[in-house]
Symmetry: C2
Subunit: 224 residues, 2 copies
DNA sequence: TACAATAAAATTGTATACAATCTAAGAACT
DNA sequence: AGTTCTTAGATTGTATACAATTTTATTGTA
């Protein structure tokens, strides 16, 4: 028993949701590796709950696409192929453009300010050692744009798509030069939204997302 | 006990998946009404299984957005508000344009033929009494386009979005005049793809989807 | 009758038990 | 030694049991 996993305690949430969040986080952080089997009894022991909430959490992970069910062999952490990543990238770029288009039409002054602030926060972490904080700041910037788009459903789908990339993204953010470049792009995106310049905003977001994710795909290919 | 539900038997599938499909179908066909509570013991009795597969199926429906969980009150069929439908419509149009753009770039001769065939099949049902067949033929036409787009992930997301509209769509298809109009639009869409005319294809699919779904939204508003 | 307090029933959340199936190790045989 | 058969163990799939909470019904009182 490695004790790798630790329940994220939360009194008022059903155990299935707590387990779901815990496993989801472990998969996205790479603590549970692609291909690794998720065995119910083992997980139940490790997390100190029964199999029931484990199984229900696995059903949810299955629909999120984070685990793959093999009949009579149970769940294993989904392996993401290069083809999968390319598909995700295509859809994500399309939806990011859609979102930023809506954002240009609908953004309020408060939301605009929130976007600016998130961008500056990311910039302030350009030289930080705390990679997790950097990653979260980046997520936050994009979330502020999704908020401005004013479409819950779109927001939810985009978040799910981003999830698929999370595990491979940390490496990218280690390079401080890259981070400064990202910060500049964030600023350009912000300015485009501020001027309600839909075309520019779409162009900027497209190259911003594409560049990052293509680098990630390349790196993945190197590693095999 | 009304005996409203009937398990879709399938030997080699786990019961949870069978129950999932059964409940999903019942919700989409409107046999389970929005707001209706899904009580586990009752469903278990009615379907002749235990609570375990029922619960797991409900977890899946939850992530599909077809049921809403209320803590300690269990699941109820999700009510779709006009706002929800508008959000779905926005995203669906965006993704349908994306898909048809890819289809124009990538469609093979076989796929093009499959699109044409699906369009003709729909047209042949223009005066049919069998509404279910008409609805399925329409789904099939769009599926052939999604196939041609060659992106599994996109396909999956689009199917999920369409699901949200299913319950409200039957009414629309009852009108044979409308059906003929749809058939004409299908033909125009097919022609645009055949000529790899991305711009026209996007314009056609946009108005095709928007018109249908806006009518559905209007009708829904009338009914309350 | 209306309202409050309490008790009973119903329902969900969680744990455990049992059944079916798969995996793997070891024995028997060639 | 290698191969097949058998058997024990492990694992998933399903059913049931128990606990906690909520809902509903009932009783008592003003």
């Amino acid at each position: 028993m490695t004790g790798k996993l630790q329940l994220i305690a939360d009194d008022y949430l059903p155990l299935r949701d707590v387990v779901f969040k815990t496993l989801r986080g472990a998969i996205l952080r790479g603590e549970l590796e692609p291909g690794e089997r998720l065995m119910e009894i083992r997980l139940a022991n490790e997390l100190g709950v029964s199999r029931t909430p484990i199984r229900e959490a696995i059903r949810m992970l299955e629909l999120e696409g984070l685990v793959l069910m093999v009949p009579r062999r149970g769940a294993q952490v989904a392996k993401i192929t290069e083809k999968d990543l390319k598909e995700v990238l295509e859809v994500r770029i399309g939806l990011d453009e859609l979102a930023i288009g809506f954002a240009c039409e609908r953004v309020t002054l408060e939301q605009l300010e929130a976007i600016r602030e998130a961008g500056e926060h990311f910039e302030s972490l350009a030289d930080s050692e705390d990679l997790t904080a950097v990653a979260e700041a980046d997520v936050r910037f994009h979330d502020r744009i999704y908020d401005a788009a004013g479409n819950q459903r779109l927001n939810q789908i985009l978040n799910n798509l981003r999830e698929q990339m999370y595990r491979y993204r940390m490496e990218y953010l280690k390079d401080t030069k890259r981070r400064r470049k990202l910060a500049d792009e964030h600023r350009a995106i912000y300015e485009a939204i501020r001027h309600r310049d839909t075309e520019t905003a779409k162009r900027e977001i497209r190259s911003h997302v594409r560049q990052q994710e293509e680098t990630i795909i390349l790196r993945m290919r190197e590693e095999g």
